[in-house]
């Protein structure tokens, strides 16, 4: 098998899945342009979700924030911020969409399983089987300062709690038989006797004993999403998730290596190796020609990385306040300060600032870049840039070779940032036979082509998977 021969691909019939991530906090969503709309207006959410649905996307995602970002003890003021509670917003979108999946990022550290499982079940029922849950954990006491429990959990406990949380949530979701609720008001009871079970769970993290309040949805229970790049995160996904988000979607070889690794981990826990959908997050920039697309990318990067943002990013790297420097001038001459705790939360920290700064200096000098140009050129290289036809060919190659199952797109403009993708890229993908021409199912699980929930499978399979 050669990976370049189009006639000999591992997955000739593979289909690309698309999601849209309506971001709440980051500098990639451009807010300064005239076309940029409100980040909080319900119309923005409706518009993006309905546009994605017109483009036959699998899912609409919302992130979660539990504390505003800070840099050096001050609230970060350069990027978009302020967003609705995810499940609440998605419940509203359930009323104005018909097919698209609605995925909430919800934290296992500062929620309780019975409450969150119930909220997610509600979303699943209101959307008639379109809910998803992106399972995340929180790692700092800084976030804990907003909650009754306060404090934080160390790394190992965070995952232990997350896994047990999921076990309890699934037990609650499975607490009602599929036809537990009577189909006639003349029935002797609202729910069939024995159809609703007490859930008892006693573990190291949770001690739960309750009667669940809700039946299963059309898709059984919400689809489980997880993002995790560490070995531990990947194992967690292999044991528990239906879909994994990744940061491995920009480079084919990197994406394939990640996918192969996950398939190995799936087999190791006794799951079929096509049991998990891999959806890297990405930005997609489209032009009528390659040159136009590149020109658009340059414009977008300059909008995203303003002089102040460039100085902010460099400041985090150097460990210094650089806000009074000239972003269009040379790199700071000082050496980076490596602080134990730089007082920055929710912002990206750098593992080895000295090495990164050395590399930045070398490249900036070689190319004659300003600080801002350096931040743009050497910052995270995200996304795919090209013509609709070129991108469709590339994505068909990715998905047919099993490097990805699709992409979770982060539009750089709200609310119209999906228009190009829906109007131009989607038809090109359809022409190549790698994208649906209509929804064939009604649930998120249907769209993703997933098997039934892990807990509904045969006991043998469940034991292996557990």
């Amino acid at each position: 098998m050669t990976r370049t021969d189009p006639l000999d691909v591992p997955r000739p019939d593979a289909q690309l899945h698309l999601g849209v991530f309506f971001q709440g906090v980051n500098h990639w969503t451009i807010w300064s342009d005239q076309a940029s709309g409100s980040q909080i207006d319900p119309a923005s959410y409706r518009r993006v979700a309905q546009r994605a649905e017109r483009g036959l996307f699998d899912a609409f995602f919302l992130g979660e924030g539990l504390r505003l970002r800070e840099v050096d003890g001050r609230i970060h003021d350069l990027d978009i911020a302020g967003r609705p509670d995810a499940i609440t917003q998605l419940a509203a979108l359930a009323a104005v969409t018909e097919r698209i999946g609605l995925v909430s990022t919800s934290n296992t550290t500062f929620n309780e399983p019975a409450d969150l499982a119930r909220r997610l079940s509600g979303l699943d029922l209101l959307s008639e089987g379109r809910a998803g849950w992106n399972v995340v954990t929180t790692d700092n006491a800084w976030t804990g300062a907003n909650f009754r429990r306060g404090g934080y959990l160390d790394h190992a406990d965070r995952y232990r709690r997350a896994e047990e949380f999921l076990t309890v949530a699934r037990a609650i979701w499975d607490g009602w038989d599929d036809r537990a609720v009577s189909a006639s008001s003349g029935a002797p009871a609202w729910a069939a006797p024995g159809g609703v079970r007490q859930v008892r769970h006693q573990g190291t993290q949770f001690d739960v004993n309750l009667v669940p309040t809700l039946p299963r949805s059309a898709q059984g229970h919400p689809v489980i999403f997880q993002a995790g790049d560490s070995g531990e995160g990947r194992d967690f996904a292999a044991r528990n998730a239906d879909v994994i988000f990744s940061a491995h979607g920009n480079d084919f070889d990197d994406a394939l290596t990640f996918a192969d690794d996950l398939r190995r981990r799936l087999r190791a826990v006794g799951r079929p190796d096509d049991d998990l959908r891999i959806l890297p997050g990405t930005e997609i920039i489209i032009g009528a020609t390659e040159e136009e697309a590149l020109e658009k990318k340059r414009w977008i990067r300059l909008q995203q990385v303003t002089p102040a943002t460039a100085l902010g990013i460099a400041g985090l790297l150097w460990g210094l306040d650089l806000s009074d420097r000239d972003a269009d001038g040379p790199l700071p001459e000082e050496d980076p300060v490596v602080a134990e705790n730089d007082g920055s939360f929710g912002a990206r920290r750098v593992a080895d600032p000295r090495a990164v700064v050395a590399e930045w200096r070398e490249k900036a000098q070689a190319h004659g870049w300003s600080l801002r140009e350096t931040v743009i050129a050497l910052g995270p290289q995200r996304g795919h840039v090209g013509t609709p036809a070129g991108l469709a060919d590339k994505f068909a190659h990715y998905v047919r070779h099993g490097a990805v199952d699709g992409f979770n797109i982060t539009p750089y403009l709200i609310p119209d940032g999906l228009d190009d993708i829906v109007d131009l890229l989607v038809p090109a993908l359809q022409e190549r036979g790698v994208y649906r021409t209509e929804y064939t199912g009604t649930t998120l699980r249907d769209h993703l082509g997933l098997r039934e929930p892990l807990t509904h499978r045969s006991t043998t399979c469940r034991r292996q998977a557990g």
Partner: protein, 374 residues
């Protein structure tokens, strides 16, 4: 007695106020939790001219066997209905006995954004001891402890709603700043059992503060916009309303009405064969539409509005919308909500100034912002 026209609210949880209401519902039990049924009932209430829908809740199933009934979370139902209605106010019941005030604040603020200023909040208590284990928390034991959790929780939730000033998002292209951090505030709440830092994640709700409803005997009146007052007879209700001390009062009225097919007494007797309709100390009208209209007319001047608890939603809502409300509107004993108005406006309540903005302008005069903003 006469007074200003009443505002009308209706409680629409499940199939009705009676624990066995599902037996008389116009749909099969397995349709109760469908979005179609939910939006159909809300549309009926909106078209009838109600000002407000409330949605009861609790994290445990509402009934005992055989009347155990499923219940979708009130905030999720409210958000769904906010997107499928356009005029009516929507207030979910959210108890603070165990819930995280930070989450509650975010959920309710989001509901106000989603409904463009039509959201309210009925504060209640979680009294069943089993709820503590469900929340993984120690039992909040006794009325005083529950009242403390409600009081502290409302204080936090309200402070978080103010933690973004109305104009905190400045989008200043000239300075590259999306936010003005001077207009964001740590709430730094410290109560008896927990502390909350802030600021909120959700920008200030369109109404500034949602309309907060609750029982003045359980929640300090200073935290409530609308006191939900009850009494078994008019005299008791009048006394409760007079003692409420809240900006507005709504009377709790349970109703079972005559329908073309059966009298109210027959309908009630039918359900009482299965389970008793517990006495919640509320005024109860069992009888004709005309009788209810007359009763409500007498409440003008006593209270600012009423919250009706229909015996069976599918049956009583029809009679309310067909006979009772038109009668009240015609005689101007009650008013319909105006399209495009916030729930606060419908109730004649001011949009509150932001507490932190008020402090800030008192201490340091704000620098006028002259830069290009969008």
């Amino acid at each position: 007695m006469s007074g200003p026209a009443l505002r009308l609210a209706v409680e629409l949880d499940g199939d009705g106020a009676h624990p066995a209401a599902w037996r008389r519902a116009a749909h099969a039990p397995d349709h109760l939790l469908t979005p179609r049924r939910l939006s159909r009932v809300a549309a009926a209430a909106e078209n009838a001219g109600f000002t407000l829908i409330t949605l009861e809740d609790g994290t445990l199933p509402p009934g005992a066997t055989p009347d155990v009934v499923g219940r979708i979370g009130a905030v999720e139902r409210a958000a769904f209905l906010a997107a499928s209605t356009s005029v009516i106010g929507i207030a979910p019941v959210v108890p603070l006995t165990y819930a995280e005030p930070f989450h509650v604040s975010a959920q309710l603020a989001s509901l106000d954004h989603i409904s463009v200023g039509r959201a309210g909040w009925v504060v209640s208590e979680e009294t069943r001891p089993e709820a503590a284990r469900l929340w993984g928390r120690r039992l909040v034991d006794g009325a005083a402890a529950r009242a403390r959790e409600s009081r502290d929780g409302i204080e936090v939730v309200r402070a978080l709603w103010d933690s973004w000033e109305d104009d905190a998002v400045i989008r200043s292209v000239a300075t590259s700043r999306y936010l003005d951090r001077e207009r964001l505030h740590y709430v730094d709440f410290t109560g008896d059992t927990y502390a909350v830092k802030g600021p909120a994640i959700v920008p200030r709700p369109p109404q500034g503060q949602l309309v907060v409803l609750g029982r003045p005997d359980l929640v300090p009146a200073g935290h409530l916009d609308v006191g939900l007052v009850a009494g078994r007879d008019l005299a008791a209700l009048e006394a409760a309303a007079a003692a409420a001390g809240t900006p507005r009062t709504f009377a709790e009225v349970e109703v079972a009405l005559d329908t073309p097919d059966a009298t109210a007494e027959e309908r009630l007797a039918d359900l009482e064969r299965h389970a008793p309709w517990g006495d919640g100390g509320r005024l109860r009208h069992v009888g004709s539409a005309a009788g209810l209209a007359a009763l409500l007319e007498r409440l003008r001047g006593v209270v600012d509005g009423v919250r009706l608890h229909p015996l069976v939603v599918d049956e009583d809502l029809n009679v309310l919308s067909g006979l009772v409300l038109p009668h009240l509107f015609e005689r101007r004993h009650a008013v319909r909500p105006l399209p495009g108005s916030s729930l606060r406006t419908q109730l004649g309540l001011e949009r509150p100034a932001n507490r932190y903005a008020a402090q800030r302008t008192q201490t340091t005069p704000a620098t006028p912002i002259r830069e290009e903003t969008r």
